[in-house]
């Protein structure tokens, strides 16, 4: 059972409705290119073969705002506050239309990132910390948050292998450096610092991303197993 506990105001009103969430909410967090997707691909079949129904949810893929957000990011007029709120709209749409129904139906929900990456992005772009925390305060506290922690040196080869530096993953909108690489280094350094600050505050379970993929998967399974509903 995912408890009806929130970081801030329960703006959706789940407590009033006395919502019951027999599922589990499991979050994998970490920077771009750290290997979150590979882990999710290993976890899903493992859970399914053990008889659990699994749902997943991915950032920027909401039915409501996914397409609009993508389009807005391709233009050149998107300001930082608007970007943050567009992301928040996307998140809340996924939260209400994908994550909550799955939890109500007893699914194990695996989310590729949650509010933490969104808050980190906002904070490095100068957002007021109280403001951004209030907005995402409506999110349920997950049953577990796994943070794949790596250093900048770990990220660079992975990003290069995955198609190179992209505009947004390099924080080019922030004008931090003269080219993609310089900007990437500065931006991701700021992002890693924000994640580090969140470890204690949000009770992240830190996993060393330098370990081999199979070993990370073993660690994740080891920690997830006791959280699963019996049967």
């Amino acid at each position: 059972m995912t408890e009806l506990e929130f970081y801030g105001i329960d703006a959706i009103g789940l407590q009033n409705r006395e919502d019951v969430l027999p599922g589990r909410l499991i979050v994998i967090e970490g920077p771009d290119g750290i290997g979150r997707t590979s882990q999710l691909l290993l976890l899903r079949p493992w859970l399914e073969s053990s008889g659990y129904a699994v749902a997943d949810s991915e950032m920027t893929h909401s039915d409501l705002a996914g397409a609009g957000l993508k389009q807005a990011k391709e233009g050149n007029t998107l300001g930082p506050i608007t970007l943050n709120l567009f992301y928040a709209t996307d998140f809340v749409d996924r939260f209400e239309s994908q994550i909550l129904p799955a939890l109500r139906a007893g699914f194990i929900v695996l989310t590729d990132r949650y509010i933490y990456s969104l808050m980190a992005r906002a904070l490095v772009r100068g957002a007021d910390p109280h403001w951004i925390r209030s907005i995402y305060g409506l999110a349920l506290k997950p049953d577990a948050i796994f943070y794949l922690k790596g250093s900048l040196e770990d990220l660079i080869p992975r990003v290069l292998q995955g198609g190179g530096f992209s505009y947004w993953e390099s924080g080019m909108d922030m004008h931090l450096g003269s080219d993609l690489f310089e900007s990437f280094v500065r931006y991701q350094t700021l992002m890693l610092a924000e994640y580090d600050k969140m470890i204690a505050e949000y009770n992240f379970h830190v996993i060393d991303a330098k370990l081999p993929v199979e070993l990370i998967a073993e660690q994740l399974k080891h920690h997830i197993l006791p959280l699963l509903p019996a049967g």
Partner: protein, 255 residues
């Protein structure tokens, strides 16, 4: 960060001025702000006008959400906040920095009234809009509900789903639902008068009288605001209007 940090409500300092009109549909606020705009322009000020729900960046998402009825009260609130953020970053802050007068037809109080009427938590929605610039003066056009309803509903056969508050399930009849929803919105506005120091306007007064009061209240705030050209004299303005409207066009209008 590097001076790009977000400022919150009440902490923005700009040379320009921001005047806002608020009220339910049918309160006559748009007429009043249009008249105020003409006057300010004729006085030689640079005026920037900004309307609710007008961001080109967000428009498609909002209409998609409304058309497919994808919006919950929370995402309805968020998508409008996103729209308002885009307006703030493009239409409000830069002109205010440039010393212009910005006029806004509906502002954050519209969101507070509508979203809370939709049962969104009132603290949460106020936090959501923390990035907004506090207006120089915000006018609330108060009108008895039966007056605004008859203004809006006369000649209207169809009310839109969200406009009528049908998502709240107050009534299956759109007209009935609209009335109940508007009443909730009015209650929220009334409660905000003290909270946000809104200037109450009696929207049942004749249009010229309301405008006279508005100008009187705006004038003291204009001291020291830069005029970009000298004011146009009333006579010259009339001549200008005549010059721009060839008389033949008028006489031919019946054709």
């Amino acid at each position: 960060m590097d001076g790009q940090d977000m400022k919150t409500y009440g902490l923005h300092q700009y040379p320009g001025k921001l005047f806002v009109v608020e009220g339910v549909d049918g309160s006559g606020k748009s007429t009043q702000i249009a008249l105020l705009r003409q006057w300010l322009i004729s006085e030689g000020y640079t005026v920037f006008f900004s309307e609710w729900n007008s961001s080109p960046l967000v428009k498609k998402t909002t209409s998609r959400g409304k058309k497919k009825q994808l919006l919950t009260p929370t995402t309805f609130s968020l998508i409008h906040a996103t729209d308002f953020a885009d307006r703030t970053e493009h239409d409000i802050i830069p002109p205010l920095k440039a010393g212009a007068i910005v006029l806004a037809d509906r502002y954050v109080y519209t969101a507070f009234a509508r979203d809370v009427a939709r049962n969104v938590d009132s603290h949460w929605v106020r936090e959501l809009y923390q990035f907004a610039v506090q207006p120089t003066r915000a006018f609330y056009f108060r009108v008895p509900l039966d007056v605004s309803l008859s203004r809006i509903l006369t000649g209207r056969t169809e009310l839109k789903y969200y406009e009528a508050g049908m998502d709240l399930g107050l009534s299956n009849d759109p007209h009935e639902s609209f009335k109940m929803f508007q009443q909730r919105i009015v209650n929220e506005y009334e409660a905000m008068i003290n909270e946000y120091n809104l200037t109450v306007m009696d929207a049942t007064l004749p249009i010229p009288e309301q405008q006279r009061i508005m100008r009187q209240l705006v004038r003291p705030h204009l001291e020291g605001v830069r005029r970009f050209r000298p004011p146009v004299r009333e006579k010259e303005l009339l001549n200008l209007v005549r010059a721009l409207q060839p008389t033949e066009r008028y006489s031919d209008q019946s054709i």
